[in-house]
């Protein structure tokens, strides 16, 4: 279990165009970041909000995750290569590394610790949190920023294809971050990730142990029937609804946690699914 000390949330459902974040970034940070693109600006904004009001030690680690990373820049490079028959701009080539976003976050916050960009096919947020949880428990890290960053792209048909979703699903973008540390009394909440991927039988066994009153949030890939089945197994636990406030993106679970912790008290169990496999994570403001 790790302590959550700060929250940063940026979430939107763009329409037709990517929002211009440069002005927001300038307003938040008072700085102009040249050579950054939309994905990098998203990352800085979310991390900035999570770190606001906290004195970060320089060794604070960064773990960033994303469903598809900096798609816009790859899209742009492909367009330059295949359609315009032009060479990529060096800045695009450099920013093609999704880890470049971590570089700018570290620079913005004055950090010198570990700076990782990690991915997982099914559960990018949960797996990244698992890595953080392990590092904190081992004492490898004393503090960390963990962020999930996904951008909305104008080419919505392509975005749906990449996500394996039907074309009617409303897509969004977000940059949601937690500042975490060792368990402490001043923490906003504590977080625990179930340290393995579960099958349905294992999920059912765990659900039988959920404490009454725990709110349940479900990943957007769960069907209404699956949610109803799970709710029936949890002895009247209330459902935490967030779905109407956001479009779909892969790192939504971090949005759910930050949204809950910004406004609610109590325990929240987040249940996510991918290809009939499940991962759970729980936050609590009471422990």
């Amino acid at each position: 279990m790790i302590a959550i000390n700060g929250l940063g949330r940026h979430n939107s459902i763009p329409d037709q165009h990517q929002p211009d974040l440069a002005a927001e970034l300038r307003s938040l940070s008072g700085k102009v970041y040249r050579r950054t693109d939309h994905f990098i600006q998203l990352a800085i904004i979310g991390a900035h909000k999570a770190a606001a009001g906290h004195e970060l030690v320089p060794q604070t680690a960064i773990y960033m995750t994303s469903g598809q990373g900096n798609i816009s820049v790859f899209d742009r490079i492909c367009d330059q290569r295949h359609v315009r028959k032009e060479l990529p701009r060096p800045v695009d080539f450099i920013n093609l590394l999704s880890n470049s976003a971590g570089f700018y976050v570290a620079g913005h916050l004055g950090l010198k610790g570990k700076n990782l960009f990690v991915s997982h096919q099914h559960f990018p947020v949960q797996m990244a949190l698992l890595a953080v949880q392990n590092d904190m428990q081992l004492g490898r890290e004393q503090a960390a920023l963990i962020g999930g960053v996904d951008e909305w792209i104008p080419r919505q048909d392509l975005a749906h294809t990449l996500l394996g979703l039907d074309q009617t699903t409303v897509l969004g973008e977000g940059s949601n971050w937690l500042l975490v540390g060792k368990r402490g009394k001043k923490a906003l909440a504590h977080l625990a990730v179930t340290p393995r991927i579960l099958d349905l039988r294992q999920l059912q066994q765990l659900l039988a142990t959920v404490e009454p009153g725990t709110s349940l949030a479900f990943g957007k890939r769960l069907t209404a029937a699956e949610i109803a089945t799970i709710m029936a197994l949890t002895k009247g636990c209330p459902r935490y609804c967030y779905e109407e406030a956001c479009g779909y993106y892969e790192t939504l679970p971090l949005y759910v946690l930050t949204r809950f912790l910004a406004a609610e008290k109590g325990r929240l169990l987040h249940i996510d699914v991918s290809e009939e496999r499940y991962m759970l994570m729980q936050v609590s403001t009471q422990d």
Partner: protein, 382 residues
């Protein structure tokens, strides 16, 4: 204690005894790769894994990963079913092809491309490998530029230490990408002729391909003289394209890696340098090593044998080092013939007989990524 049970590597240096002989004699085979820049056809030296067409497909990448993993399991007389709770950790600086291909298709055809109704994105290769091998456990994919697979290995070690897994299959993956070659060429970071790390006349990187794997375990799956002692990953923000030329960021990660392994500088037998032959990177590395070590241990280079395999170099160079040491030597690389005047010591020019010791492996990359870890090879039984 985390053991490295074994490793396997596909690279430009061939296989088996031929590879060891090439390492021993300091000989490598370098081809060339052509790219078109501003209507000019340019050709750069390039270390190709084989002559297979590089119209990369997901199936081709899967085939290389399968080949390297099956080669490793064959060497170790293991099957996937012997490895119950295993993690797969993959490091690569390339964008996942499962993601890249639909985007390219969409651009070329003007349609939405074909996603086959399944989500694609980072983590796809590792997930498919787990499915094909029916491995039970977790996976993570790391993209931290040239430190990707080195970070994958260190994170695997952490998950083993935390008992989240019993075994870890760590993979490094880097295959030819025209975008990558064009990008580095545009930045004038590629040598037109030869890789000469730490040489006064070094003039840039030579890229290469490698697919590599190591199996780590916290159990004695097989007797192994190799152990992971510890390491450190850190970030510096001097420049997105490289470390602070003063070497302070590199010295910091080296010092922290020594501390994480519970070692002092004098206990390092030799250092595997990153040695890209980029002017500023080599300078920063030399200065960083000099700051961290009052007496610099011997250091050696592996990129002259397989090229700079970018995100794959963490595991690829570890396996190559292990193969040399298993044969009783650290390879020399007769490339730095005129040492840069500012440098205090030259890399090994000729092979050095070594039976055992503690070896530091250093990796640095774009995005301010610095990684250093230490491996021990114990004395062979008398």
């Amino acid at each position: 204690m985390i053991s490295i049970i074994g490793g396997e590597l596909l690279c430009a240096l061939g296989q088996g005894t031929a590879r060891i002989e090439a390492l021993r004699t300091g000989q490598a085979t370098v081809g060339r790769m052509a790219v078109t820049l501003n209507d000019r056809q340019l050709s750069f030296p390039y270390y190709r894994l084989d002559d297979t067409s590089r119209l990369v497909s997901t199936a081709l990448i899967d085939a290389y990963l399968d080949r390297v993993v099956s080669g490793l399991f064959h060497k170790l007389a293991l099957t996937p079913s012997d490895l119950g709770n295993i993690g797969v950790f993959l490091g690569s600086s390339s964008i996942d092809y499962s993601l890249a291909r639909p985007i390219e298709q969409a651009i070329i055809s003007g349609t939405a491309g074909h996603g086959h109704g399944r989500r694609v994105g980072g983590g796809n290769y590792a997930d498919r490998l787990m499915t094909r091998l029916d491995l039970q456990g977790l996976s993570l994919t790391y993209n931290t530029a040239c430190t990707s697979s080195a970070n994958a290995l260190m994170e695997a070690a952490a998950m083993l230490t935390g008992h989240l897994i019993d075994h870890a299959l760590v993979l490094g993956l880097e295959l030819f990408s025209p975008t990558t070659v064009e990008g580095f060429a545009l930045m004038q970071l590629l040598s037109p002729d030869q890789l000469r790390p730490f040489d006064q006349h070094r003039n840039g990187m030579v890229l290469g391909e490698a697919v590599s794997a190591v199996l780590l375990s916290r159990h004695e799956l097989r007797p192994s003289p190799w152990h992971y002692l510890g390491g450190q990953s850190s970030c510096e923000t001097y420049s997105v394209t490289g470390p602070d030329p003063s070497g302070v960021g590199i010295a910091r990660v080296i010092t922290a890696a020594l501390a994480a392994a519970g070692l002092v500088p004098g206990s390092i037998t030799a250092i595997k340098a990153h040695g890209t032959a980029s002017d500023s990177m080599d300078l920063a590395e030399m200065r960083g090593m000099a700051l961290a070590f009052a007496t610099l241990p011997p250091y050696f280079l592996l990129k002259p044998y397989i090229g700079h395999t970018l995100g794959g170099c963490g595991v690829a160079e570890l396996v190559l080092m292990m193969e040399g040491l298993t044969a009783g030597f650290l390879p020399g690389a007769p490339t730095a013939t005129i040492l840069d005047q500012e440098f205090t010591a030259a890399p090994l020019q000729q092979g050095m007989a070594v039976a055992a010791g503690r070896f530091m492996l250093n990796y640095f990359g774009f995005g301010g990524n610095n990684t250093s870890f230490i491996i021990e090879k114990s004395e062979p039984p008398a």
